[in-house]
């Protein structure tokens, strides 16, 4: 098992949006998808997923509907709305800028100053 990192506050929403952007998912599926796409490197307290999901639905970034899953159980599926897609793009860009900035900051050598 790879070493796991606690996720940064505020990044859970981004991860959820990303996971759902790859196709409609139900709650546990989102968790699995995040584990899968992060190669199991991120640690999420499972319950924390749900308040985040409800908040995103309320913000109109996700929409939820009840449907039957492949094993014939009534399941709540989430998918991205167009507002959600837009938000995801913004967050991705913001994240990348942040990462680039932090990375370059960390790479700084004494002689560069």
């Amino acid at each position: 098992m790879p070493e796991r990192a606690q996720i940064l506050p505020g990044t859970l929403d981004l991860l959820i949006l990303k996971a759902v952007s790859l196709g409609p998912l139900y709650g546990y599926g989102i968790l699995l998808r995040i584990e899968q796409i992060s190669q199991g490197a991120l640690l999420i307290e499972q319950g924390a997923l749900y308040p985040a999901l409800f908040r995103l639905v309320r913000q109109g970034l996700l929409k939820a509907h009840w449907d039957t899953s492949e094993n014939n159980r009534r399941t709540k599926f989430y998918e991205l709305t167009s507002a959600g897609r837009k938000r995801l793009r913004q967050e991705e860009e913001g994240w990348n800028r942040l990462v680039a900035a932090i990375a370059s900051a960390l790479k700084a050598q004494p002689e560069e100053i």
Binding site: Y26, G27, Y28, L31, E45, Q46, G47, A48, L49, Y50, P51, A52, F54, R55, V57, R58, Q59, G60, K63, W66, R73, R74, T75, K76, A83
Partner: protein
Amino acid sequence: MRVFASLRSVVSALFHRSLVENEIEEELRAHIQDRANDLERSGVPRAEAERRARLEFGGYEKYKEEIREAQGTHFLETLIQDLRFGLRMLRKSPGFTAVAILTLALGIGANAAIFTMMNGLMLHTLPVRDPRQLVEILHHYPDDPEPGFNGFSWDAYQIMRDGNHVLSDLVIGSLNVYVVGGHALESQTVFGGNVGGTFFESLGVRPAIGRLIGPLDIKDSSAVAVVSWSFWKSRFNLNPSIVGEKIIASGTPVTIIGVTQRGFYGLSNQAQQDIWLPFSLGDRSSPGFSVGLLGRLKPGVSIQQARADLATLFQTANDRPDANPFMRRMELRIAPAGNGVSTPVSQMLSTPLTALMATVALLLLLACANLAVLLLARGASRQHEMAVRVCLGAARARLLRQTLTESLLLSLIGSALGIFLAYFAADGLIRLFASGRFIMGLPVRFDVLKHPDTRVLLFTGTIALLTGLLCGAAPAMSASNTIPASALQPGSKIGETKRQRLFGKGLVASQVALSLVLVSLAGLFVGYLSQLRNHLGFERNNLLLVTLDFAQSGYNASQFSHLSQELVMRLNAIPGVSSATFSSVSPMEGPGASSFAFAEDHPEKTTPVSINYIAPDYFETYGTPFLAGRDFSAPDQAGSRVAIVNEAAARECFGNGNPIGRHITLSHITLTKGEKTYEVVGVVGDAKYNDLKQPAPPTIYADLLQEGFIGSQLAIRTRIDPGGVVSAVRQAEADVLKAVPIVRMMGMNEQIDSTIVPQRLIATLSAGFGVLGALLAAIGLYALLAYTVAGRTHEIGVRMALGAAGTDVIRIVLRDAVWMVCAGLAIGAPLAFWGKRVAASLIPNLPVAGPFPIVLAAAIMIAVGLIAVYLPARRAMRVDPLVALRYE
């Protein structure tokens, strides 16, 4: 889009609460289940897998709570929380709660009561076509603010109908009272109308059955009638055979030709009209003929334009040589009739209600200020609590909301109680109205004046909300501004700023000011009422009035002369009766005969005079003094015409000369033509005739028996309470005048009061409001001082320990109180003067000269202030320095 989504989630959260709750549960359980299944597949035993799944999920209830918050149900839940907490706080201090709720209930209740009546009286539109276009044509005395009279001669009607440019329609329709009976019906007094042929058509009223009165009925003078749907239902049980039924309306046999559509009740909201008869065209040339007129304004025409146009035509009609000279003094008034024509009820009530509405608004303002002071004082004592809550992380907005919720809760409970009180208050007021002259005994629909409808509830709800916000705002701000550090310091003087203290004092001062206005107005109105009830020119106590109905008796004048004298003798023999007399009218009963008088040598100077036909002993019975000459006596009956005049008539007709033995001529006696000349044999003091508000008019008293008239008014002067002779009087009357029923028996006081219902209403209510206002101011002052003293207990203790005497301590308390009262009086006095001017503009003849009521009110407010100060001052004086200092 997002707003929409969040709104939808709130709404669905609110309405599908349990459904949503179940879905959350289902979703979370499914998650744990899936996880457990996965773990099991990876080889963990089932029980262990489920345990680990739950563990990995984390705090199940905590996340559920977070989900709920994320969903936005927060508001409702906090509201319920706030309400529950608010109720608990109110229960905790029952004294404060009771005073606060009662204050608001009285303030809001008074507003609801008056508004209910205004609503019933002035705000309902009539159920007819385009009611807003309807106007009533009235004539009134110059400068008389009363609406006036809707009665015009045939000529005036025709001239106005044919010559005007402002009305699309001018129809005849008046409000009358009929006694309706017939072979199948029990006799009943109902409202009805004399209408023209286009009345129903113009109003857009259709028949429910049969047909309505049309132009042909007028032309042919048909003996027909139309009745209302409710009459049809209550008296004929909706039986269609009503058409063709013969009934008797006030002595006239008529045939019912139709029923008006359901919901039509005539031209007034208070007087359900049940029967309409065609007006009698045949009488149009008789001098007493008059028709009520209802106009429909052309689109875009204003009331002023209509008045200007019609007034010219009215003038033209009055300039005709055969016009009634009385009408020449009258002015035309056009009044909107969309909310109903003026009726005795509306005439009596609209001005007082408008004045009262303003007064109760003032009262509510006062109640608001009072509650704000109470809440501020209580807020100060709760600063510690607020400080603790701020320290524990309560958001200031949350505290603000909590305090506002509490004040809104108070105002809501207060207004619920207020509506309840309003119903009874309106009921009591209606009883007062029902005792009014011209209304007494009539089937007026007073219930419309006391039943709160949606508009009333909406109004009350709105003012309750405003009240709650208004009186809660200041305390809420101060609560949310709590500074924990200072408030939590042990023994700290309650952490309020100077500004807050000043604000509290300002509120109390404004209460004193408002109360001053209310109390001085009350003094004004009560003084006016007592002025009206006295200086009458006759003695009103111990005077019993009996109204007789000779109509069906068949007595002629000589029989009446004989029987009336016999009855008077019988009455004089009753123990307790000192004298008795007959007359054609009694004072304040209603208008009697009138005419124009001139002295023998001055035919060019005519004076309008009131006439009363009286039997001997009239002045002795009424207690009006003889100034000169003599009373009528038996020999006059066969002699030449004699009259007694009052001082005003003597002065008008004869100047300063002695009128005894001179002659006076009366012309146009009550719309008749021809003249009569009398020799003046006596002069009596002036006495009010028909209107207490006006000075006694010039009055001519002629001899009832000499004229050969029948007098239906019997007056009995008693030495004991009139109630004690009533049965003996009934007996004597029944013995002597067998065929003459007694219509009414009442004391003179009652008859007087029946003519001044609006004045009594205003005086009674304003006195009540004055007392209430003073009480509220006292409570406010008391509350503020009490809490100041409580806050300064420590300081007072130190002062006393250092040797201050009780009087010094009292001075501290008193200084504040005196400042507040004085500031209040200083602000209130100009307001009170202004209030007096407004009152005078609404109520003519109000004795507004002199500062007396305001001075009196100021004295009362000072006394009230002293009483309010007493308890806090005593408490301050009794502060035990040892106890006060031990707190530290």
